[in-house]
Amino acid sequence: MEPTRDARVTLVDLLDRVLDKGLVIQADVIISVAGVPLIGLNLRAALAGMETMLQYGMLTGWDEQIRGLERARVASSEPRLLESEKMILASFGSYWAAQGIYTAWRSGSLYLTDRRLLIWNRAYKELILEVPLTSVQAMELKVQDGPASAHEAKELLLLVEGDQVARIRCAQIQQLKIALEERTRLAGLSLKVQAALLQGNGGSPKFLRPSEVVGCRGKIWYWAPHQAPGREKAHTWRPGILYLTNQRLCWWNEFDQRIGLEVPIRQLVAATVESQQRAILFKEEEQVLDLIYQSGADRKVGSFSGREVLQWHQALAHVISQSGLLESQAEPCPQCGEAQSAKVLLEQGCQRCGWVSPRLKAKLAQTAE
């Protein structure tokens, strides 16, 4: 076996010898080289994981590549700004996306620049909301108290061009509003009267007609029929808001954000209140408001439940008596369909098949005891 001095093989050996060994002079004429052994150590450290300089070079490249990727990733996780566009506020936020059949709160990074309000989805690198500030015509901050929101949430409503309302929630909503107002003021834009956004209850002002005036509104549960075809007979209690205007009775479905029941006042026939055990929702007996209304040629019953049922009953009875339809119009029995006086039907039961309303049934049971 022959010894080798091939520099590629012996580099580490050589460094060991030259840096660590050799005669060390202990004399005061030797320049103090306090930092010098560090050179050796540094070099050794650089060599420690790599036998050859080739490998060292490869690893340097790898390191740079990884750093480059990370830089690119961070850069691409922010929306691209226009030239000379300035970032004013960055936070997290969401907006109510209601286009077509798809409705949901969509969340992302919210940015306010001097020109736009943006919500950016980092994961998909997609702008999910882009509102040019010049298109904002009005804004209002309001507390959202619909049954669907577990907590009181502040929402910023923006009226943008084309009478679209953008609903925005944001962790720093107050700052966002102030910054937005400041920007629009600086941009020389004047916001319209904000009452435009204040009709009705939050999130549902759009369905009101200009001539419509809300008389009563309140949270209430509605025994809502299923929408799915083939399951018409199935119902569920759903939370929502009932509006009684000078024209209509409307129940706004808070979950689906759309009207679940709409009856013109003229078609309201009768309203009664009964006690029922609706075990699924309410542990105790609850007052249920049954509303009979005309739907085309048919009569239908809509049931509501909630704390304000009695008040609603009063209000509805008043409206119905005003329209004077209760006595004059005949009503088909829900069971056999025989047309008879609504009052008789409700207070005595069907004269033909013997159907009685649940309330009457309960009353009869009480008297029998």
Binding site: D13, R17, V24, I25, A48, E51
Partner: protein, 256 residues
Amino acid sequence: MPEGIYLYCIADGAYAVSLGSTGMNKDPLPVVTIPHRQLSAVIHWCKPKPFQSEDPQTVKKWVVAHQEVVNRAWERFGTVLPLAFNTIIRGQEALGPEQSLRSWLEKEYDRLKAKLLKLRGKAEYGVQILWDPKVIADQLLQEVPAAKQLSEEKGKKAPGAAYLYEQKLKGLLKKEMEAKADACFKEFYGQIRAVVEETKIERTKKTHDETQMLMNLSCLTARDRLERLSQVLDGIDGRAGFSVRFTGPWPPYSFA
């Protein structure tokens, strides 16, 4: 005249020659020898401050240049005492660095002479013995009855029990490997020590492949009596699972 002297090595004999320029100094001052009685210092004139750099490539270049000068002196003058990297001598009071060097050489003359005498005609070699733990473990599996038995039983067991047998076998093999490493070290060291002048046991290092370094030696031996070491190393290299790295000849850094 610069105020520092970079000292590469001390050569045996009086020479006043130039060895050409090197990669160490940026100034094109050549490497020269300064004779003092029957010793010569191999130096170059430099600024009185150490060579320092953050860049490993630069330092590596210096180290290689340092080695080249020592090597050149060694081949030319026969016997040298290499100095540690970055040994720089400065002047003292009214005296220049050359006077400092000379007075140091005078003071240490006898000791330096004795060392040089001891190193005359000799060189340093690096010997590193490595083994492949996988191959060795396979051997042990066949050689050690307890391990063999465990391994055979493991094959017959259900996966759960086989796992426990595997762990047991691993523990046993680890112990056997350690014992074998110990025995090999003693055996090889004995063999090598018998055919060289002097040895220094260096720290073993991590390798960058599947092998492990078992032994790292610096050996001092006469340059013309290398055959016996070569034969011993051939014997070790020929064993299954073992390999030897044999480097040199180096100037006697480890024995200065």
